[in-house]
């Protein structure tokens, strides 16, 4: 039960939306899709779902392409949220559940369970248009999970939710993952990806810039940060060999370094000037990596 994407290219006329994309999502894993707006995330998702066909390459789930024959095992939350505005929440969830192969009775039970889980059971008989945007989104998330899919694709699941609901949703996603589901999701929020995903890919202009497990990605980035706090100006240290960049902060500075031994060098040099109140070697954040990688492409 792996999602396998092999050398996939998608062209719309002369425009190449996705170029030679390859990746593997193992069963039961959580896979993060990162990319700036227009990087090709939604197009890739649509190809995985079989809504669009790849110009070249192949996408298989469990060895077979995803078609309407196995669509009942797929859950999908599109980036553009939408439900029937005039339909009652419960009816809507039952209808969408039925379309994913559920029996009406089971869909009704499941929809009540999920509404309970998202702490909104009282919305059951309300029309969708009466709900706030965030609550509509919860309903839509439920619609994508209600039929216990084995592959779940979530396009920006956290956008538009308040911190409390983000936590509820994270927990729900982790729960379905423990139950064995494979989850692919995209986000602009690096911290969410960092927190949830074992594996990730960074897309830019339809091409993969980086892919692998979180640890691999960080290691292959080849940079670490040294954060220091001192009562004197640290800017003289940026001349140290091995320092690739320096950013001054209010209490000190952050140095980007290539190798760990440069950190020792920095500490030694700093101590010659005075006392150091804080010293730490930090892993690069995904945010740094993303900005570095994607930002460079745009520059």
């Amino acid at each position: 039960m792996t999602l396998q994407i092999d050398n996939v290219t998608k062209k719309f006329g002369n425009f190449t939306a996705v170029k030679d994309l390859s990746m593997t999502v193992k069963q039961g894993s959580m896979f993060g899709f990162l990319g700036a707006n227009g990087a090709g995330k939604t197009t890739t998702f649509r190809m995985i779902l079989g809504l669009l066909d790849a110009t070249e390459g192949s996408i298989t789930w469990n060895g077979k392409p995803i078609t309407y024959a196995n669509s009942t095992h797929i859950g999908y939350l599109p980036e553009e949220r939408g439900l029937y505005p005039k339909m009652k929440v419960e009816d809507q969830l039952i209808y969408l559940g039925q379309l994913r192969g559920m029996k009406k009775h089971d869909a009704k039970i499941a929809s009540n369970e999920w509404l309970e889980r998202f702490e909104v059971p009282h919305y059951s008989s309300k029309k969708v248009e009466e709900l706030s945007k965030g609550n509509q989104q919860k309903i839509q998330v439920i619609a994508s999970l209600i039929h216990k899919p084995s592959l779940i694709i979530l396009d920006e699941p956290f956008s538009g939710l308040d911190p409390v609901n983000v936590e509820i949703l994270k927990k729900a996603i982790l729960d379905v993952q423990t139950e064995g589901a494979t989850i692919v999701f995209s986000s602009h929020r690096m911290d969410h990806v960092e927190e949830l995903c074992e594996q990730l890919i960074i897309l830019d202009h339809g091409q993969s810039l980086l892919t692998g497990s979180l640890r691999e990605v960080k290691r292959s980035f080849g940079h670490q940060n040294v954060r220091m706090k001192a009562d004197f100006d640290l800017s003289f240290l940026q001349e140290t060999t091995g320092v690739t960049s320096y950013k001054q902060t209010i209490e000190g500075g952050v140095f980007q370094i290539g190798e760990e031994k440069v950190a020792h060098e920095l500490l030694r040099n700093a101590l010659t000037k005075g006392d150091i109140r804080y010293f730490a070697i930090e892993e690069p954040s995904l945010q740094d990596i993303f900005i570095e990688k994607v930002g460079k492409e745009h520059a």
């Binding site: 669509s71 939408g82 379309l99």
Partner: protein, 422 residues
């Protein structure tokens, strides 16, 4: 197949339960009852005299200069079952005119006879648009004069009857396909009504389909649906759902109309209804009406779904539907103009053009004794067209539902096919 029925049910019930649909249905039902009882309502209203402004229109004041016409005229009117009452007036003509213009009385009649027994009559009312009463009086006076003259010529009443014996006039047509004149005028009314029903239903329900599709697209729920179910299945389930709803709605109107006519005091075989040929409803005409409604609906609904899938906002639907609307209107023009001359060449040709077939071929089937292969050929062409359009439509639909942005032109069809192609 289960998905098909899920969507079918959903599009049927959500539409059937909407307030606007229920209200529209109720209004039409009420309208049918009103129409079928119209003649009795009108006569009731006339009895009460609401529109007569107080003056009694069934009483006519008469100034009879001859002094001998009033009595026989009243008898003549009674014999022809007229409810007019004549009253001799002692007022002068000038006074009566003044009374008419002040609406104290409705009308008055001035009568005289000259030496050759020719009757001179002047009917005065406020305006010359009055029609029924002067006609009745004229006819009665004509009979009266015939009698007067016959008497002066010493003709017996048998001789008078011989003199006015009606001729026998029959109309026969040589063409095999034409119905007799009597059948034709009977068929015309029914066909007229059914053409109107088909035209209206095809137009209304196709629009409904386009709106449904556009609403699902603009609310963005479409993407979830087509990730579960193939767009083609979705499209046809929706068309079938709304089509069934339409068929049931029209059947309801039909039943209501039937009940209303049965229970109303109006007589089916007389007056307006005999003109419409309801006394002699042909089963084959009704069967063809249902067939052509269904085919016409499927044709236009598929086209409407295709066009509806191209817009991103429901506001743009009407604009894109315009070409389709024109097609239906042209078809109805041809059909209605063909009522007078169903054998015209252009009607014959149009009946084989798929977009016109549902209305025009139905007209020909209803009005003429066509050899059976003609409607069957028309239906076959229509079926092939529906099939091709369905195939083409589902390709456009597949891409169209994923397409967002300012799309208001038919050029987007090409874009949609590109987006949706394998």
């Amino acid at each position: 197949m289960r998905d098909f029925w899920t969507i079918f049910n959903q599009s049927f019930w959500t539409k059937a339960k909407t307030k606007s649909f229920v209200i529209t249905t109720l209004i039409v039902v009420a309208g049918i009852f009103l129409m079928s009882n119209l003649s009795s309502i009108i006569s009731k209203v006339q009895d009460i005299g609401v529109f007569d402004g107080g003056a009694d229109s069934s009483t006519i004041y008469v100034v009879d200069h001859s002094g001998s016409l009033l009595e026989p005229l009243q008898q003549q009117l009674d014999a022809s079952e007229s409810d007019l009452t004549l009253k001799s007036s002692t007022h002068s003509i000038e006074e009566l005119k003044a009374q008419v213009s002040e609406e104290e009385i409705k009308s008055f009649l001035e009568l005289s006879v000259n030496e050759t027994q020719t009757i001179h009559a002047t009917y005065t009312s406020e305006n010359a648009s009055e029609f029924e009463n002067p006609m009745a009086i004229r006819d009665a006076l004509q009979n009266l004069q015939t009698n007067l003259k016959a008497t002066s010529l010493d003709l017996s009443s048998e001789k008078v009857a011989q003199l006015f014996a009606p001729i026998e006039f029959n109309q026969k047509a040589v063409s095999d396909s034409s119905k007799s004149e009597e059948e034709l005028s009977q068929a015309r009314g029914l066909v007229y009504v059914l053409i109107f029903v088909i035209y209206f239903a095809v137009f209304y329900y196709s629009n409904m389909i386009a709106m449904e599709v556009a609403t699902e697209k603009s609310s963005r729920v479409m993407e979830i649906i087509i990730s579960s179910v193939s767009p083609v299945k979705h499209m046809f389930a929706k068309i079938a759902g709304v089509g069934t709803l339409g068929l049931l709605q029209i059947a309801l109107f039909g039943v209501v109309g039937f009940v209303a006519l049965k229970t109303s005091s109006s007589d089916l075989t007389s007056g307006v209804f005999s003109f419409f040929g309801f006394s002699n409803v042909s089963i084959s005409t009704m069967v063809f009406a249902v067939i052509f409604f269904l085919l016409g609906y499927f044709l236009y609904a598929t086209l409407a779904a295709l066009l509806g899938s191209l817009v991103s906002r429901t506001e743009d639907v009407q604009q894109l539907l315009l070409p389709m609307t024109f097609l239906i209107i042209i078809a109805s023009f041809i059909a209605f103009s063909g009522l007078g001359n169903p054998e015209a060449g252009y009607v014959q040709i149009a009946s084989y053009i798929p977009f016109f077939t549902p209305l025009v071929m139905f007209l020909r089937v209803g009005m003429l004794e066509l050899p059976i292969w003609e409607p069957i050929l028309g239906v076959a062409i229509l079926l092939v067209t529906i099939f091709v359009l369905g195939w083409f439509g589902s390709r456009v639909y597949r891409g169209g539902v994923l397409m967002y942005g300012a799309s208001q032109s038919l050029k987007d069809i090409k874009k949609a096919i590109q987006l949706g192609k394998k």
